[in-house]
């Protein structure tokens, strides 16, 4: 299939894991471009990813290229461009592309192997053909996300991730404007269309998903939306103090040591395992007297004042109630059990309260799934894999967070066996705890300008992305690298535009017709 194909270059150097090839001076090579080196001797086709492109020249004199540039520049400055052509530039100059070897296709194209041998030196380098990516088709899973991207070219080959991999945690890393929200909507779309096979709990702090997700043709059946504010088409988000736990409180706020001691004192004083005592405490008028009489002066007054201020803020929230019967915790768990996308719109809440909601719901899900795993394996078998997506994940997954009481590190470490995964969205992966990040098997890396952010991902990624720093730095909005265990290398992708995806999404299949009662009775 390579005869007559346009040769992009000839391989000439490096080692098993890297390749260097020479290309014509006008060969348009892009970072991240995937190319094929065809070994005529073994008939293997080696896939390479371009990680750097530099200039080369036949002239060995030091400073030759600078001298030429100086001459041309001087012509420009004199207003006489072209006065000194560089004769036969195509013979005297060239480009050198440095590549990472991704692996090779066996001669029959049936399997793809990691690189363990060198292609024959001076092998031809070609643009890959659709057959070269065929091996990926079985590894792209059932949650499609976009198209394969080779440099600037979008290849007609859909890429995605297996829904099962949601349980082994997903990281979405990008700076502002690089397409995180679009990616999450596309991911949610995939979950919606899997008809209950997976669940997704999406905590939305900015209210940016509701309008778009409700437009999805499958939303009527498979999307549930809860909102902390009154919003059309949403269920009211209600959390009961009876269901909130002390650990949720500790996860939501940063507490000093004296404040933590004060919380313990209050918990002991009110003798409650849930947070209903916040209501009583928030109503205490004479805090100094309360401190002296009820707490025997064991908590400093100013500490107590801070605790009461925070307690009042929580109990004053519209979405916080005392009555356990109106809590949505159970409903959210039921929706997720049914394999729905549950969107929790917490726009209008502060960051602390948002984490409180997320912590509560995550703990509910984790309890439900872990209990089923331990006590009812059959039920657990039927439960869908569920992913909990949280923006600004560094707030709950940083190294400084108390891992004993914080539910999120627990999910990161243990959730996989219960089929509960995290989907951590952050602009600053460097703030995530290394050990927790190593639990994440799937990375979506969109543009990241900070080298420290890239370095932390490099050391934790399940695929080698060490040479891809420049590519990550130069990703455009919507372009990303998908690194997980399913694919043999970090797959470059162009994420579908959600609006385009909506236009291409067919309506859900019609529900099967229900038999009239009399017929149903006969069947029974």
């Amino acid at each position: 299939m390579t005869e007559g194909a346009h040769s992009r270059g000839r391989l000439f150097g490096k080692n098993v894991l890297e390749g260097v090839f020479r290309a014509a001076p006008d060969e348009d090579l892009f970072l991240g471009e995937i190319l094929v080196a065809v070994d005529e001797a073994t008939r293997r086709r080696y896939l390479f990813r371009v990680v750097d492109v530099t200039y080369g020249t036949e002239h060995r004199e030091p400073g030759w290229a600078e001298r030429v540039a100086g001459t041309l520049l001087a012509d420009d400055l004199r207003g006489d461009p072209g006065a000194h052509p560089l004769h036969e530039q195509d013979r005297r100059t060239y480009r050198v592309a440095t590549c990472r070897c991704l692996g090779y296709l066996t001669p029959d194209g049936s399997s793809f192997r990691k690189p363990k041998s060198l292609p024959t030196q001076f092998s031809r380098v070609l643009t890959p053909e659709p057959e070269d990516f065929e091996f990926l088709s079985s590894r792209m899973g059932d949650l499609p996300l976009g198209n394969l991207r080779s440099g600037e070219t979008v290849v007609d080959f859909e890429v995605g991730i297996p829904g099962e991999s949601l349980a082994s945690h997903v990281g979405v890393f990008a700076t502002t404007g690089m397409g995180k929200s679009n990616l999450m909507k596309v991911l949610a779309s995939g979950v919606l269309r899997r008809q209950g096979r997976y669940g997704l709990l999406l905590i939305d702090p900015h209210g940016e998903y509701r309008a778009d997700l409700t437009r999805h043709p499958w939303a009527a059946d498979r999307l549930r939306t809860y909102a902390a504010r009154r919003l059309p088409g949403t269920s009211a988000l209600r959390l009961s103090l009876a269901e909130l736990a002390f650990d949720d409180l500790r996860t939501a706020h940063d507490w000093t040591r004296p404040q933590e001691e004060g919380l313990f004192e209050l918990e002991r004083h009110y003798g409650s395992t849930d947070l209903r005592w916040l209501l009583d405490f928030a109503q205490v008028e004479e805090l100094a007297t309360f401190r002296e009489v009820d707490l025997n002066g064991r908590v400093a007054l100013n500490t107590l004042q801070v605790l009461q201020r925070r307690a009042r803020r929580i109990v004053d929230l519209d979405c916080v109630v005392a009555d356990p019967d109106v809590s949505v915790g159970g409903a959210v768990v039921r929706d997720l059990t049914a394999g729905k996308v549950v969107l929790v719109d917490v726009s209008g809440l502060g960051s602390t309260e948002e984490v409180l909601v997320a912590s509560f719901l995550t703990r509910k899900v984790m309890d439900e799934w872990s209990t089923a795993f331990l006590e009812n394996p059959d039920l657990h078998q039927r439960l869908p894999v569920v992913s909990i997506a949280l923006e600004e994940a560094q707030r709950v997954l940083s190294a400084s967070r108390d891992k004993d009481t914080n539910v999120f590190p627990r999910v990161a470490r243990e959730g996989r066996k219960f089929k509960v995964g995290l989907c951590a969205i952050t602009q600053q992966p460097k703030l995530l705890d290394d050990e927790l990040l190593s639990q994440f098997n799937t990375f979506f890396v969109l543009g990241l300008a900070d080298e420290k952010d890239r370095n932390i991902l490099r050391s934790s990624s399940k695929q080698d992305i060490s040479g891809l720093g420049p590519e990550i730095q130069t990703l455009m909005p919507g372009e990303c690298l998908v690194a997980n265990l399913a694919a043999p290398f970090a797959v470059p992708a162009k994420i579908h535009l959600y609006d385009d995806l909506l236009r291409a999404t067919p309506p859900p299949p019609a529900a099967p017709a229900t038999a009239p009662p009399n017929v149903a009775a006969l069947v029974d």
Binding site: H59, T71, H84
Partner: protein, 328 residues
């Protein structure tokens, strides 16, 4: 008491700052210099339809001082209609110099070198001989109105018979081909100071820093031409942005200015403004770099294996004793 460095620097400064009038080409005393060297403006013409460029290269593969294996070659390139039509590295000539073998190497040149000619610096003769053989072939193949460029002046090693060079010049004349020699680093001097540098400064002052110019310098070698005209030597700056002017040799019967105009059309390459681009290509092709000499040495070693030259004999003969001492 001034040191030798101070004395030398002072003498050098005196030469550079206050040169005399005596014009000279180091090692050659056959130049008849112009009375006055005056730079004249030069305009760029159009490129010749056919251009050949020839350059020679040399290297040493084995060196026992009294006995050397040297390699030489002459490369040719041709540009027709502005495009490269031929690149010819030229055959690699491997010659044994010393040990009574030098005359055989010289005879193999087939130039009619006198059998009693001196043999000092014979590698220059071997290189120039190959180069001028290539010049002759190029003149024969060049289209009318074409130019054959030679790296260096048009006076090959003194042992090359003048009849041979005269024959090439006559052939060029008959075929309406202009033979041009371009010397990058000239030994022309005035009052002991480098002439070209002084001419460059003088021309820049007279004609401006961005001017192309040329200046007749001398005539020489009346023996080389059939009609007794010999060669003419000029200095020329062949591009407005050229960092240097070069010595250019032409047959004496060639009208210098039109020839230089056409030559300047070949000197606009961005990498080498002022120097004919085809000569740079020939220069690259003719080079005999270290790796090439090492290859030759390896092949000779294989031959030694076949004929049974013991390793220690080779080692003792061709060891680089300087390097050995530097290592110790």
């Amino acid at each position: 008491m001034p040191t030798s460095l101070e004395l030398t620097a002072d003498r050098l400064a005196a030469l550079l700052m206050g040169p005399g009038d005596a014009l000279l080409d180091q090692g050659r005393h056959d130049l008849e210099f112009e009375r006055q060297l005056v730079a004249r403006p030069l305009e760029r013409g159009s490129a010749p339809p056919d251009v050949w460029a020839i350059d020679g290269g040399q290297g040493t593969a084995l060196d026992a001082r009294c006995l050397q294996v040297v390699v030489t070659r002459a490369a040719r390139v041709r540009y027709a209609g502005g495009a490269c039509a031929l690149e010819e590295e030229g055959p690699l000539n491997v010659s044994l110099v010393g040990g009574g073998q030098t005359r055989a190497a010289v005879a193999a040149l087939d130039l009619g070198v006198a059998p009693d000619a001196g043999l000092e610096g014979v590698i220059n003769l071997l290189r120039d001989g190959a180069e001028w053989q290539a010049v002759r072939r190029s003149v024969e193949e060049c289209a009318p109105d074409g130019i054959v460029l030679v790296d260096g002046d048009l006076q090959p090693d003194w042992r090359v018979p003048s009849t041979f060079v005269a024959g090439v010049l006559a052939e060029a004349r008959a075929r309406q081909v202009t033979l041009v020699g371009v010397t990058k680093h000239s030994s022309l001097s005035r009052g002991g100071a480098p002439l070209m540098g002084m001419l460059e400064l003088d021309a820049a002052g007279r004609l401006g820093p961005d001017a192309m110019w040329w200046a007749p310098v001398a005539h020489t070698r009346p023996d080389l031409a059939v009609d007794g005209g010999g060669l003419q030597v000029v200095a020329a700056r062949l591009d407005p942005q050229a960092p240097f002017a070069f010595r250019v040799d032409l047959p004496a019967d060639v009208d210098a200015e039109p020839a230089l105009r056409r030559l300047s059309a070949l000197c606009d390459d961005a990498a080498f403004p002022g120097y004919p681009y085809p000569l740079t290509v020939a220069d690259r092709l003719a080079a005999c770099p270290r790796w090439l000499c090492d290859d030759v040495r390896s092949l000779i070693e294989e031959r030694f294996d076949l004929v049974g030259v013991p390793l220690e004999v080779r080692e003792r003969s061709f060891a680089d004793r300087h390097r050995l001492m530097e290592r110790s």
